[in-house]
């Protein structure tokens, strides 16, 4: 059973005539690392939102982590999302909470015991290389460090899938490399990673599977791809 499986998935937003995703069929196996590339507006974020069940498919079928999303009832969506970690270009940290509190938040939401939280938060902060940053506020961190906090939060509940939408979009190249190394490490723990990006250098370096979208259509699906066509 693949971790993600799409069968003729089409998504047309209301009041739009052109679909944002057009008849996409693909599979992502457990433990895979997939780059989603394509120009702005090609449908990358839409695809990730469908995986998260933030949006519903217009037609076609979508299976994520063993669940058929077209039949998943609304009240089961929160539980489903607990199995997916998310990272965004804008970090989405809570500015009035410390680094530790931001990471702990994800555990508190799912009702984890305070003891467990106190044990796991420092571990994850160590994993992302922010051992001594627990008491700092997000505003006191660089962009790269903030993104590490976001990754720690996404990872702390040990999700099966990690979704990253342009996680390096706001970062300079050296910071980006650090973030990619971190995502690679998380992927090595068995977590499936799907990352949308249009950072060609990163894609070329990592040599992972590349799925390219153009106007909502999959125009390329390469096992060890690079950003542009390899010819």
């Amino acid at each position: 059973m693949p971790m993600i499986r799409c069968e003729n998935v089409t998504k047309t937003y209301s009041k739009q005539d052109r679909p944002a995703l057009d008849s996409v069929t693909l599979e992502v196996a457990k433990g895979e690392f997939v780059f989603l590339v394509g120009q702005s507006g090609s449908g990358k974020s839409t695809f990730l939102r469908l995986i998260l069940r933030e949006e519903k498919v217009t037609s076609g079928r979508m299976y994520v982590a063993g669940k058929d999303l077209s039949t998943l009832s609304q009240w089961k969506v929160p539980e489903f999302r607990r199995g997916i970690g998310t990272v965004f270009q804008d970090y989405r940290l809570l500015p009035n909470k410390t680094v530790s509190e931001n990471v702990a938040f994800a555990m508190q939401i799912v009702g984890a015991a305070p003891k467990e939280i106190a044990r796991e938060v420092p571990e994850v902060l160590e994993l992302v290389g922010l051992d001594d940053y627990g008491h700092r506020m997000p505003a006191e961190l660089s962009g790269g460090e903030q993104q590490r906090v976001a990754i720690a939060r996404a990872f702390i509940n040990k999700p099966q899938i990690l979704i990253a939408d342009e996680p390096t979009g706001n970062l300079d190249p050296t910071m980006s490399v650090g973030i990619m190394k971190l995502l690679d490490r998380i992927n090595r723990t068995g977590t499936t990673v799907v990352m949308a990006t249009h950072d060609d250098k990163i894609v070329d370096q990592m040599r992972k599977r590349v799925i390219e979208l153009e106007n909502g259509i999959v125009v390329r699906d390469q096992v060890r791809g690079i950003y542009g066509y390899s010819g």
Partner: protein, 300 residues
Amino acid sequence: MRAGFVTKEVLNGLRRNITLTIAVVITVAISLSLLGVGLLANSQVRVMKDYWYDKIEVSIFLCGQLSDSPTCSGGPVTSEQRAQIESDLKALPIVANVYYESQAEAFIRFKERFKGTALVDNVTADQLPESYRVKLKDPKQFAIVQSAFSGRPGIDSVQDQRTILDKFFKLLGVLRDGALAIGLISVLTAALLISNTLRIAAFNRRRETGVMRLVGASNFSIQLPFLLEGLISAIIGWGIATGILSALKSLVDARVAPLLTFTNFFGWADVWNASLLLLLTGLVVSAIASFLTLRKYLKV
């Protein structure tokens, strides 16, 4: 989510929205107080009715020299007629007690009432009617006495003091209904303010709620802090309203009751009953306003 975590989030929320929280508390306090005044007005009308209706009586005036109603065409009441009326009255089960007022007693009362006026000198005892003063077990059953005795030979007229009181209480009833209506309208205002406040709170905290959604918080746990904030504001407002009503009660006891000795006043039990009803109103209104608002503004 754990209770400790929820408590912290709720307190944070109340603090971050402190001006709006205060506005909600004050509005709830005022509107519940107004509604409470309406409820106490209702109690007061009831107390006055009990007090007055307990005192009123039905008067059966017997034919005298000056009576000119058709039933008195046979002249003043005879002693047989009087004896029959009295025994019939006492036989009625709805009658609590009967008091006979002779012409001499009527004259004494008359003199007292019109003391110092020319009337007193021009009236003699035998011009005044003798009467039975009847107290009913239930003052509302006047009609039975009326139908049994009016039109009977020897009886001039049957009068019920209730008809006068009824007009008075109708007026009081209008005032009470007005007070209740104002109270209800202001409670509605409070509901709208709570709804609006929660909408602003939901907007201010869209970052948090967005993150909560992303990490898989349930709808309920996203809405709970907001709901609790609304309820806590309502409870604080209710506490103030109860304080205001208690102060009102103390004021009535200390300042008004000594001046107005012709009636009783609502008791502390009425204040506590009203307060309980206000608590229920506050909680229900706040919960409904929150539920409707949050359902709209905090979707998963």
